[in-house]
Amino acid sequence: MQIATRTNNDIHIVAITGSMDSGTSPEAQKALDGVLASARKVVLDFSGLDYISSAGLRVLLGVAKKLKGSGGTLRMFGLNQSVKEVFEISGFATILSVYPSEAEALAAM
């Protein structure tokens, strides 16, 4: 898994490449905690995310809860069909804000 962060004005865009599973999620958690220390507007770029298991969903839920608590915003885009399927089965598709493209995710901030 690789994590790259860039900023667009006050929006932090975090690209997660590879998988978010029980092996990689602690690292993702740490990186996202670092971003959340200063960011209130976060966009997750999942265009390079291969698959996500419940360990990864747990990390995303934590990020969503923290941002909601601090009045921040969380958007995500670029989910492949398998990640979408996991979001739908778990009900995350309805509690997280998912957009087809980066432009649409940014426009919704």
């Binding site: 998988s19 599973d21 029980s22 092996g23 291969d50 698959y51 996500i52 298991s53 419940s54 360990a55 969903l57 747990r58 839920l61 969503a64 809860k65 909601k68 492949n80 069909q81 398998s82 399927e85 996991v86 089965i89 778990s90 009900g91 309805t94 509690i95 997280l96």
Partner: protein, 151 residues
Amino acid sequence: MRHGFRMSVGAHADGVGKLNAAFAGLAETHALPDAVRRSVNVALDELLANKLSHGMADRDAGSAKVEVQVQLDEERLTVTITDDGPGFDPFGQAEPDTTLSVEEREIGGLGIHLVRKLMDEVSYERRDGKNVVVLVKQLVVAEEKNLREES
């Protein structure tokens, strides 16, 4: 023609990494569709992570072993996961409520729920003092199969 592998892995992150590498090799060699490969990757991660939290966590890394067998034929991929830990049926747990809001959400039980939904068949049995979990993912979708049988 049957293909596949059998390996004994430690029920911890290193074990999952080795297993993922072996499975990635099989998927590449046999050009498994991404959707199938990813579903199986998720299921393997859930079940091995589940092992860590139910009964194997107190063992040292050397003795906490899970045997994983992956078999591939023309129609299906079958994964058999066997361990000699205390009896535990992962599919015997309550289904999580997937309709709750962000604030109310907890993650417990979600992993096994994913396995149930992503695989076509799941089963558990306690056999000869071991836990045996079998997962099946069909490679040929039902419609294609019907067409082939009709032709």
